[in-house]
């Protein structure tokens, strides 16, 4: 489980290329706001889920990843609304602020890690929500902050206007997803990824081979925090509002569920598939007039994945099996018969 699933080995490059091509060209086919916002929000969640998966790669189970989205969202909202800073500096400051909190919390908690880390991150999520609720002068409490979309970018005679259409936002999100995927993939391939695998698989052995456990856990947690903060900033500015209840415990749990259903063993693909599936499914379910049906069915989905695909491969594994058995027609390994 040390290497990520490499989609190039499972799915032909042309299929991946075609899928990316289709997604990129989606606004040409349809400019339906509902479809585009669904993809945008799935993309934002996918970034958060990638952060969760990166932390999970070091053997730590973070139960409060939505807190970093909230931190990023609130930082950027406060900077743009209260201090009237432009969008782009506050976008980067949102990531930095969220990363700083991850760094500080990580330096304290990741000394021990394990279940203590899970509990503290759970508490962190609640602390962030309560502070956002109670700090009325800055966060406006439960009413939340009204944010504005990013300002138009003028490229000569051509103007990218975020306020009038969702298409620019769509490309902005796709870009951020692509950059995050690239960086996280590269982290997994480099020496960092090896150290992460080592401390996840056997912390005691890794420590006796010279790997400083806390350092690498903190690096993973901080990098995840930065990118989750970016995602939170996009989230707040896309929905043009941020309230304490938008990013609470249920959203943290949703991030975990997306990661588990998509597949924890793949860094980029699993989170993307999980986020798109669960997010669109959740939107559909939230229209039904049954209270709590979303939570119920999500829980059932996680239970099914854990029972039937227990190796952390999630739905990606199903796809791989399908590809091997049906498309490649790969046979089970058989011994050559010995001739007498």
């Amino acid at each position: 489980m040390t290497a990520y699933i490499d989609y190039k080995n499972v799915v032909p490059k042309i299929v991946i290329g075609l899928t990316i091509f289709l997604i990129v060209l989606l606004p040409v086919i349809t400019v339906n706001v509902a479809t585009l916002s669904m993809i945008i929000l799935s993309g934002i969640w996918a970034i958060a889920v990638m952060g969760f998966t990166l932390v999970l790669r070091t053997g730590q189970f973070s139960m409060g990843q939505a807190a970093f989205m909230a931190l990023g969202g609130y930082t950027s909202a406060i900077l743009t609304v209260k201090l009237s800073l432009p969008f782009w500096p506050s976008f980067f400051l949102a990531g930095i602020a969220s990363g700083m909190v991850a760094l500080l919390v990580g330096m304290v908690v990741l000394r021990v890690g394990g279940i203590y880390f899970s509990i503290i991150t759970l508490a962190l999520g609640e602390i962030v929500r309560i502070v956002a609720e109670q700090w009325e002068p800055v966060t406006k409490g439960t009413r939340g902050l009204i944010t504005s979309p990013p300002p138009p970018i003028a490229l000569g005679f051509f103007q990218i206007n975020f306020a009038t259409s969702t298409v620019p936002y769509f490309y902005l999100t796709i870009c951020l997803v692509a950059i995050t995927t690239l960086i996280f993939w590269q982290i997994g391939q480099s020496r960092l990824g090896r150290s992460f695998a080592g401390i996840a698989l056997n912390p005691v052995l890794a420590e006796h081979q010279g790997i400083h456990l806390m350092k690498y856990r903190v690096i993973a947690f901080t990098v995840a925090g930065v990118f989750t903060g970016f995602a939170g900033c996009l989230y707040a500015h896309f929905l043009t509002v941020i309230t304490p209840h938008m990013l609470g415990l249920w959203q943290s749990i949703q991030i975990m569920m997306m990661s588990i259903v998509g597949g924890t063993s793949s860094l980029a693909g699993g989170p993307i598939i999980g986020a798109i599936l669960l997010y669109s499914f959740g939107i559909y379910l939230s229209r039904l007039p049954v209270f709590g049906i979303q939570q119920l069915l999500f829980g059932a989905a996680v239970a099914l994945v854990v029972i039937f695909l227990p190796k952390g491969t999630g739905l990606v594994d199903l796809w791989e099996r399908f590809w091997r058995k049906v498309v490649w027609r790969e046979k089970e390994f058989e011994f050559d018969e010995v001739e007498e």
Partner: protein
């Protein structure tokens, strides 16, 4: 100047003194065997040197630098690498993956170079992979390179443990019972490898129950009993020491 030195090293677990005022000097290039009945503190000694436990009292020096109180990873960085009594592996990783994880200390290029896959990193990586293959050959794991580590047989898992320690280029190698659960031939194979390792100039400290192995490989033997050092010297001398025989077989009563 001794290479590795323990001064009054003591470890208490509650009121139990697992190690009591141990003084030990190890010279460079030695192969030191540590023997003693069960519960005499052999593994505790290795745990103290490798930093897994902190000594209750006393100090440990490596090349005149105090190492007691450091974390295991800091001690490993100085070149003191250990193996474990049970088979401690990266479960889920293949043999070559475990070796690459263990090769952590071999790299001089920074994480950034590795992240951007610069040429320096690629060259270094190639060198390290070459070393991994050499070691895998030396320890007879070549056929199992791409098998999951937990699927190997007990003997090969122990060899993998030694290989994972050797990839770090240790100055001192601490082997905690490398031949447990092996038959005579397998043990002989391990002994040959330990000899080869010590010929490379590595100082080896090994815990061993099998006397035949110990007499074969060790240049010096230390005997522990109930946390005390009761003998220290050439293997043949120590084996004939009356106190040692008593510790192992009990006192003679008529």
């Amino acid at each position: 100047m001794p290479y590795l030195e323990l001064r009054n090293a003591t470890k208490h677990f509650g009121k139990l003194a697992a190690l009591d005022d141990i003084d030990l000097r190890v010279e460079k290039g030695e192969t030191l065997g540590i023997v003693g009945p069960n519960g005499s503190g052999k593994t505790t000694l290795i745990n103290l040197i490798s930093g897994y436990y902190r000594p209750t009292r006393g100090e440990i020096f490596f090349q005149d630098k105090k190492i007691s109180g450091l974390r295991p990873d800091q001690i490993a960085k100085l070149g003191i690498i250990r193996t474990f009594q049970s088979n401690v592996l990266y479960e889920g990783a293949t043999v070559v993956e475990s070796m690459l994880i263990s090769s952590y200390q071999q790299y001089r290029t920074s994480h950034w170079q590795s992240f951007f896959e610069t040429k320096a990193w690629k060259d270094e990586n190639e060198k390290v992979v070459g070393r991994v293959i050499d070691l895998v050959k030396l320890l007879d794991l070549l056929n199992d390179t791409f098998l999951p580590a937990e699927g190997l047989s007990h003997g090969y898992q122990r060899m993998l443990g030694i290989a994972m320690a050797m990839i770090s280029n240790p100055g001192v190698l601490l082997l905690d019972e490398p031949t447990t659960g092996m038959n005579h031939e397998e043990a002989k194979f391990v002994v040959d490898k330990i000899k080869k390792i010590s010929q490379q100039g590595v100082t080896v400290i090994l815990i061993e129950h099998n006397m035949r192995v110990l007499l074969d490989v060790a240049t010096r033997v230390v005997v522990l009993s109930f946390g005390n050092k009761i003998a220290d010297g050439k293997p043949e001398e120590v084996m004939n020491n009356q106190e040692v025989i008593e510790a192992y077989l009990g006192t003679e009563t008529v």
